[in-house]
């Protein structure tokens, strides 16, 4: 049997980023405006507030084969809706610890605070997170094979 090494070499992680509309999504736009590159493996979903993040969305992403999930919101105290990011901070702390128990390493999940003025920080965070996830390899723990065609 021939072992296909290529798949491992060409391995590109799939990263889902949830960005709040007011800070992080604007930060991502700023990174774009300043042409600060980060890996194309990062795919952004716009949500009104990081507080919109139902834990279900994160679980679904892992179930569908995402290798990492990052949630970006306004800095604590700066939430456009005053308190949304506080709920996310606590909710995700619990969720990530549960995911850890299920075998999804802590390094695959992250909550980052990125303001609308921090394009540089957005790109840096994404570069860092992508290489961190890539070093772990594919997420096989939670991936639901029934979801694959």
């Amino acid at each position: 049997m021939q072992v296909n090494n290529d798949t491992e070499k060409d391995y590109k992680p799939l990263i889902v980023a949830f960005c709040c509309n007011w800070c992080s999504y604007a930060g991502a736009d700023l990174a774009g405006n300043n042409r600060l590159s980060y890996p194309a493996d990062v795919k952004i979903i716009r949500v009104p507030c990081s507080g919109r993040l139902n834990p279900l969305f994160v679980l679904r992403a892992f179930q569908r084969g995402a290798d990492g999930v990052i949630i970006c919101g306004c800095h604590p105290g700066d939430c456009h809706y005053t308190t949304g990011n506080y709920y996310t901070r606590r909710r995700m702390a619990l969720l990530f610890s549960m995911l850890d128990y299920l075998g999804i390493e802590r390094e695959r999940t992250k909550v980052a605070w990125i303001s609308a003025a921090e394009g540089q920080r957005f790109a840096e965070t994404m570069n860092e997170f992508t290489s961190q996830v890539a070093s772990l390899g594919k997420n096989k723990r939670l991936e639901d094979l029934r979801c694959k065609n």
Binding site: D29, S37, A40, I44, R46, P48, R52, N54, D78, A117
Partner: protein, 664 residues
């Protein structure tokens, strides 16, 4: 099933340079629901929008996906166009393939693949979109201006002129701000007080303007058109309605050694004081930190001499509550603290002063009556050295100093140098500069005049060290063009200190949920196209709180902010956010989780009768959302354990569909 049209924008080469747009259009045409797919050079152009409208009509489209720039840029443009073609605007979604794809990736294959995935997610979302309509709320026709400097005064005057009531909240006892402290203004050299004080009086006399001096904003609730603001009126121990500003109390006050902040501590004032002669309101204020009566209960002289009985030692802080439709932030700036700049000996020698201090020294109403004298010994200085960029243009996160250019220093230093040479031709004036930045009408001419006509010595280089020695200041500096080190014996050194946003801006931004940059300047809704609006609806920016600027620019921006606020106040009704939360009453179990997380109090619980399958009626407690108050954050939707609460436009199944499409 939806009938979706996909439009892929080239954005010239901005997108087409790294994304194969025709391939994206082709790939997306096979997505479920897509009946039309096309790429075009500029979707936002009139032709592009026309194409969109035609396609909506010709193909009976029920949903549209535009793959283009950020939705923060053109979502509204396209939604308006779709509406004109008879489509509900909320049936249109944007896939951001410029800022978040073509501009950050270099490789064509990678960019194209990502653009297809992003487009796919948008199509998946639109498949689940439903038409939404916005509700309406009334607008409170009153504006609040925070800060009473030239920016705040001008904004208030312009709004008041349009016929709307305006309140100015100023934390100092008088309005006027930094401009009241200035002597002359560049590049015309007119006297700052002569042009400012009439405006202050105008503000006071305008019947639409209420000035809350010695007051601070305590709390802000609500949203655009309907802000509820609490203002703390600090106790000034003087009844503002009775005080005539005669100044008799000040004369008699025995406490004479209070550092005068208006003259930056270079002379002293009394414990009961009026900051300066043209103060508005011209009302005395008692400084509780120094007043003998308030501190020890002994004295009371001022109340004895006051003929109108305005002194009231029992006055307490007062909180007033008011409703506003629009808020304009004009909190201004301060020069940075120079205490950490040991090399310039600022804290060691009295003769090393900041530019604002020089401004007071040159002013006829200042501590020296307008004669330039050394603060240490009161003698006339014969050599004056100016140092530019003190604390400006430092590296990012510098321990002392700011990364940005403070913008105004080059010009005011030229002004100072020119004025000194004009008044005292026997004085040698040196200006050490890194670059002289004079973009502005008549600015460079002004600077050249300082050099050519007034003989100010401009030297490219920086001062490295100032050492006070035998009553002189030994200045060691570099002359980069001559490549030598200079040593000058100066009598006075003036530091052009960087400016920073006022300290009150940060807590205020938190109250307003308005965003700030890393330097604590307020961010604009768009750096180029919406420069006077904050991203938070109903909050406008005026003056230096948004970024360093000089007086003409500040006044221009103040007018712009006013016109934006007037535009808002003119409306009788405001369209609400259509993406509001909605509760499915059949699924709601009445747990109150959503009510607890709602920051706006938009959710209430009502007892409602339900017909049960067995034909009985049952009363159940269910959540109900007030769409006029809901801001659409979705906190309730993620808190709901039964899945009854959902956010329109960002429904659970829509986001899940996006996740699925990205992971496919």
């Amino acid at each position: 099933m939806q009938r979706i049209g996909v439009f892929v924008c080239h954005c010239g080469t901005n997108i087409a340079g790294t994304v194969d747009v025709s391939q994206v259009a082709e790939a997306l045409s096979h997505e479920p629901g897509v009946v039309y797919s096309k790429d075009y050079t500029y979707m936002c152009s009139a032709t592009g929008q026309g194409m969109l409208k035609d396609a909506i009509r010709d193909y009976n489209l029920t949903g549209v996906v535009i793959c283009s720039c950020s939705p923060r840029m053109h979502e509204n443009t396209f939604r308006k166009a779709a509406e004109q073609a008879g489509l509900n605007p909320f049936m249109l979604e944007i896939a951001n393939i410029r800022e978040q794809c073509s501009w950050v990736h270099k490789d064509m294959a990678i960019g194209t693949a990502k653009a297809i995935v992003l487009g796919r997610a948008a199509v998946a979302k639109v498949n689940l979109n439903a038409p939404l309509t916005s509700g309406e709320t009334a607008v409170t026709k009153r504006a609040l201006v925070i800060g009473g400097g030239i920016a705040g005064i001008q904004t208030a005057l312009d709004i008041a002129d349009a016929g709307f009531p305006v309140d100015i909240v100023e934390k100092k006892p008088t309005i006027g701000g930094k401009m009241a402290q200035l002597d002359k203004t560049f590049p015309t050299l007119d006297c700052a007080a002569c042009i400012l004080t009439p405006k202050m009086v105008e503000a006071q006399q305008n019947e639409n303007i209420t000035i809350y001096s010695y007051s601070e904003v305590e709390d802000v609730k609500g949203f655009v058109g309907n802000f509820d603001v609490k203002i703390r009126r600090k106790a000034r121990y003087v009844d503002e309605t009775k005080c005539t500003g005669c100044g008799l109390c000040t004369e008699k006050c025995p406490m004479k050694k209070v550092p005068n902040e208006f003259n930056l501590g270079m002379d002293s004032r009394h414990a009961v004081y009026i900051p300066f002669a043209q103060a508005v309101p011209k009302v005395a204020t008692i400084d509780p930190n120094y007043c003998l009566k308030l501190k020890s209960g002994k004295c009371g002289l001022c109340s004895k001499v006051c003929s109108v009985g305005a002194i009231d030692y029992t006055q307490k802080d007062e909180i007033i509550e008011e409703k506003y439709g629009a808020i304009v932030v004009a909190t201004g700036y301060n020069p940075i603290s120079l205490d950490k700049f040991d090399e310039f000996a600022y804290s060691k020698s009295k003769d090393v002063i900041s530019s604002l201090e020089l401004e007071r020294l040159m002013n006829a109403a200042g501590p020296t009556g307008g004669t330039l004298l050394r603060p240490s010994d009161g003698t006339h200085p014969h050599t004056v050295v100016f140092v530019q960029c003190v604390g400006s243009r430092c590296e990012a996160n510098a321990e002392k100093g700011k990364e940005y250019c403070s913008k105004i220093c080059c010009m005011y230093t030229a002004k100072h140098a020119m004025l000194i040479r004009d008044k005292y031709p026997d004085t040698d004036v040196y200006v050490f500069y890194i670059d002289v930045r004079t973009p502005g009408k008549n600015f460079d001419e002004f600077y050249r005049r300082a050099v050519e006509q007034y003989g100010v010595h401009y030297i490219k280089g920086m001062v490295g060290k100032v050492t006070p020695e035998d009553g002189k200041l030994k200045v060691q500096a570099s002359d980069l063009l001559d490549n030598r080190q200079l040593k000058i014996d100066a009598d006075m050194v003036v530091l052009a200190a960087a400016i920073e946003p006022d300290k009150s801006a940060r807590p205020l931004a938190t109250m307003l949920t308005a965003s700030m940059d890393t330097n604590d300047f307020f961010t604009e809704a768009h750096p180029k196209l919406r420069p006077v609006e904050s991203p938070t609806a109903g909050v406008f920016l005026s003056g230096v709180c948004q970024g360093p600027k000089d007086i003409p620019e500040t006044v221009a921006q103040a007018g712009a902010a006013a016109s934006k606020a007037i535009g808002l106040l003119c409306k009788d009704k405001l369209k609400n956010n259509a993406c509001v939360a909605e509760s499915n009453e059949m699924m709601c179990n009445g747990c109150s989780q959503c009510e607890k997380v709602c920051a706006y109090g938009a959710i209430t619980y009502v007892d409602k009768e339900f017909r049960m399958p067995d034909r009985t009626t049952q009363v159940r407690r269910v959540a109900s959302v007030n769409p006029a108050v809901c801001q659409g954050c979705g906190a309730c939707a993620s808190a709901c354990p039964s899945g009854a609460m959902d956010l329109k436009g960002f429904k659970n199944d829509q986001i899940l569909a996006e996740v699925d499409a990205l992971c496919r």
